[in-house]
């Protein structure tokens, strides 16, 4: 049986350290965040220049299963958070994550979609897929009058190379 690259290339688990998205000029160290009391994902601080984070209950990037990375779309002081331009990623764009073990996992975007938060497709996004995959999550759907974000944008990517 021929395995797809995201299965065949998968590495042993090792915590992520740094994220690069060349197409967006994003370079960010990765915080480790968990779940809140209410079971939702905790997020990085809202300060200007706040880095992205890895949800520490998800797979480590490059190992089997979906690794979940979170980043703000904006900051307390301006419109640009680390994932401000996530919507611009298109299939084929590459995303790299370096890990504590020195390895780098390179992923290729295959899907970029926005979902209403109230109807977030939990199973679609977090399903324990057999291969090594990445989910980049930020906010979307800003409602100016209410000063809130009604949507989540999710970028789906698969492991294509390990360095």
């Amino acid at each position: 049986m021929v395995q797809p690259p995201e299965v065949a290339l998968a590495l042993e688990p090792s915590a992520p350290v740094h994220l690069s998205i060349p197409a967006l000029g994003v370079e960010s160290d990765l915080l480790h965040t968990g779940l809140r009391e209410d079971g939702t994902l905790d997020v990085p601080p809202g300060d200007d220049g706040s880095p992205a984070s890895w949800y520490d209950g998800s797979s480590t990037p490059g190992s089997a299963g979906p690794a979940i990375l979170l980043g703000h779309v904006n900051s307390l002081t301006d419109a640009s958070g680390v994932f401000y331009r996530l919507r611009d990623l298109v299939p084929g764009d590459r995303v790299s994550v370096t890990r504590q073990d020195g390895r780098t996992a390179v992923f290729e975007v295959y899907r970029n979609e926005s979902f209403v938060k109230a109807e977030f497709p939990t199973q679609d996004v977090y399903f324990p897929v057999p291969g090594s995959e990445l989910r980049l999550i930020t906010c979307d759907g800003y409602v100016k009058e209410a000063r809130r974000y009604d949507d989540n944008r999710v970028v789906f990517a698969k492991l294509v190379e390990t360095v």
Binding site: L35, D38, G39, T40, L41, V43, G46, Y55, G57, A64, G65, I68, L70, G71, H72, V73, N74, S75, L76, G81, F83, F115, K117, F120, T122, Q123, Y126, F127, P128, V129, P130, I137, T138, C139, D140, Y142, R147, R148, Y149, N152, V154
Partner: protein, 288 residues
């Protein structure tokens, strides 16, 4: 809750065996003790309320759970499972591949369960206590526990009673299972406690040591040991609820969470008072 509850009761020198059978029927000669518990431990009072209010807590496992399934007994299989719980209803999606394909010329039936009530882990070869080279279902039980739910097909019962019914099990080397059903209390409790483990059974005897064919199954003695021994195992993890608050908004950053804490504190205080009233009332009734 019970794990935290009983040690505290022991400290208070109440015989835990007397208290254990459903706190609704607490031994009432101990009513004075109960009042002491109330006075000294609001947290304990909360615990008692939680246990006695069974039906109101029935949907406490609501949420999503998932895990990859890893091969045990060198089955060479792999899989994934997702359990979506809404109230007391569960939708279970289980994909498996690389399982044993045929048994006596027919598609190989693979009974599959959510095991509950033990450590919530999958066994390694150290579980093979009789040293025959195969982890039997029984030998794995100290790790994953007994059957809480049978992941049977269609309308077949979903409790332990259909646990070894091969006629309602998915079959063949690749299975794609999806069923929605009412989840029993034991399984809901295990999901919440993080002790629910999915196990898929049925090994190809050709890939197993001699005992797989020559020894009888520990579950169905008419079958060989390999037929019912575990092939896949995965401990269910809670998945994040919905999306993420990845937009910074003023509402979120101007003390919103402090307000939340205050509100929660108020609810807890009210619950403690309510629990106290309930216990005192019980004690009074029982004293008659």
């Amino acid at each position: 809750m019970t794990k935290r509850l009983f040690p505290k009761l022991r400290i208070l020198r109440i015989d835990p065996l007397r208290v254990r059978p459903g706190l609704g029927e607490m031994p009432l000669e101990a009513s004075l003790m109960n009042k002491k518990i109330l006075l000294f431990s609001p947290a304990l009072a909360l615990g008692l309320v939680a246990l006695s209010a069974g039906p109101a807590m029935a949907d406490h496992a609501s949420g999503s759970y998932g895990t990859s399934l890893d091969a045990i007994n060198n089955s060479g299989a792999s899989g994934e499972v997702w359990v979506e719980v809404d109230g007391t209803m569960a939708t279970v999606t289980l994909n498996a591949s690389g399982l044993a394909e045929t048994f006596n010329g027919s598609p190989y039936p693979h009974v599959q369960h959510i095991h509950v009530g033990a450590q919530g882990t999958c066994p390694d070869m150290s579980a093979d206590t009789n040293g025959d080279g195969i982890i039997s279902t029984t030998e794995g039980a100290p790790f994953y526990g007994g059957i809480g739910t049978t992941l049977s097909l269609g309308d077949a019962g979903k409790g332990p009673e259909t646990g070894v019914d091969l006629t309602v099990a998915p079959s063949g080397s690749t299975t794609q299972y999806k069923e929605t059903f009412e989840l029993n209390q034991e399984t809901q409790d295990a999901l919440e406690a993080g002790t629910a483990v999915v196990v898929v059974h049925g090994l190809d005897p050709a890939t197993q040591p001699e005992a797989g064919t020559s020894s009888p199954s520990d579950l169905v003695p008419e079958l060989p040991l390999a037929a019912t021994s575990p092939a896949l195992c995965g401990s269910l993890d809670v998945m994040p609820a919905g999306g993420a608050a990845t937009g910074v908004t003023t509402a979120e950053t101007t003390g919103g969470s402090d307000m939340g804490m205050l509100a929660l504190g108020g609810v807890l205080a009210a619950a403690a008072v309510g629990g106290g009233a309930l216990l005192v009332r019980r004690s009074a009734t029982a004293g008659r």
